[in-house]
Symmetry: C2
Subunit: 247 residues, 2 copies
């Protein structure tokens, strides 16, 4: 179940005479997207000192709702789903984290959600206390975290509106558009929208059932809006897709 394996303990690599370039963060491909971008080159070693590089493979749950929050994470590769479970097993996916995203914004004592790896995921893990100390010492870093938090809040409010007030078709279309925008941000534009998650994840994200998602995708395909391919969807009629998504 829980199996986040520490690959490297960077502490060993670091001593007094470190040069710029000696640390992982310097070479991080997603630094500019991540919270880390708030730190200048001279501050990166401080981050590097407390980071633990970690991987989680498919389905590994590395944040458990209700447990004491001892770590926070920054995603560098792969896709993570964040979800809440009701006592009877109903699940709501409250977010999908991709490279550059941060997990654990709420510096609270317990995790309010669970998180697991959709595909293979690379994470920077930080001890919450150590991370918190760094945040406290660096207001501009706190500021960046706050920007991330408010951005998340905006997304959450949009998601509420999506789930509360829009039809299945609108939800699916909006989801596809949003996924495409996120991939574009990370990898540049493409007509193919990668969907590493399964139908049930889309369903639990959109407040629908698998069957409704499936039927809706089929309908979009039948209408010539998209083409369904394994692990992805290709956009055939962008204008139409957007007009459904924007509603």
């Amino acid at each position: 179940m829980t199996a986040t394996i520490e690959l490297t303990s960077p502490k060993a690599a670091h001593a007094c005479g470190r040069q710029p370039g000696d640390n992982y963060c310097d070479n991080c491909k997603v630094r500019s997207l991540a919270v880390c971008a708030a730190l200048g080159p001279e501050e990166l070693p401080e981050l590097d000192d407390i980071v633990h590089h970690t991987r989680a493979d498919g389905k590994t749950t590395f944040i458990h709702q209700g447990e004491t929050a001892e770590s926070v994470f920054s995603v560098t590769e792969g896709m993570v789903r964040l979800y809440k479970l009701l006592s009877d097993g109903r699940r709501q996916i409250i977010g999908v984290a991709m490279p550059g995203d941060f997990l654990g914004l709420a510096l609270h004592n317990r995790y309010g959600f669970s998180a697991d790896a959709v595909d293979d995921v690379a994470l920077c893990r930080f001890d919450r206390r150590e991370f918190d100390n760094l945040v406290t010492a660096k207001p501009h870093f706190l500021r960046r975290l706050h920007e991330f938090a408010t951005h998340e809040l905006v997304i959450a409010q949009e998601q509420m509106t999506l789930i509360g007030r829009r039809s299945a078709e609108e939800r699916v279309a909006a989801f596809l558009v949003a996924m495409r925008e996120r991939w574009t941000r990370i990898k540049g534009p493409s007509v193919t929208i990668q969907l590493p998650m399964q139908r049930i994840d889309m369903a639990d994200y959109l407040g629908l059932t698998i069957e409704t998602v499936s039927r809706t995708l089929t309908k979009l395909a039948r209408d010539g809006v998209i083409l369904i391919v394994p692990e992805a969807v290709r956009v055939l009629d962008e204008k139409k897709l957007l007009s459904i998504a924007r509603a």
Copy 2:
């Protein structure tokens, strides 16, 4: 439409020799609940310098989705609804702000939602730039804002789960319980849950229609869980209400 009237311009009241107690914030009943609690007595005058006390009466819209965000607000009295509108008029209420709550956490350029007064509302308005300067100068204040933001985020995630995965009855019960907890925080406990908002607000908050809300309340009343009274609901069977709400 827009009619937030400036009652008092505190600038005039202030000069060099101000004593503690000379300013409004000192006597604020909700200071301990609000973001302002992050500031010590010696810092309050700085807040007082930039605050504009404002009232908005029933139905006045004082934040317009999409407009440039020039002000942020702290609610001191009354109830505010925050909502997003779709182009065809569908509305999702994304939050209800009560005394102590802060509006405008996202220091973004445009408001992502609209806000209006449910009943008579008292607000502390701040120019976004001035407020931002204060935040930048005071990391502990930023920290408090961040705590507010992450708290909002937690609430939003719970709301997503509520709307996406729970039945009408569960939504209404959870709403009543949440409202009661909020009133308790502000005014102390009571079996009567004040509901200054109308059915349509509850509906738009819970992703339901007026009729479904009405029927659900009637059912809860029929089952002896609550008693419906004007502008409020009285809890008759707390255990049952909680068990429905918690699901």
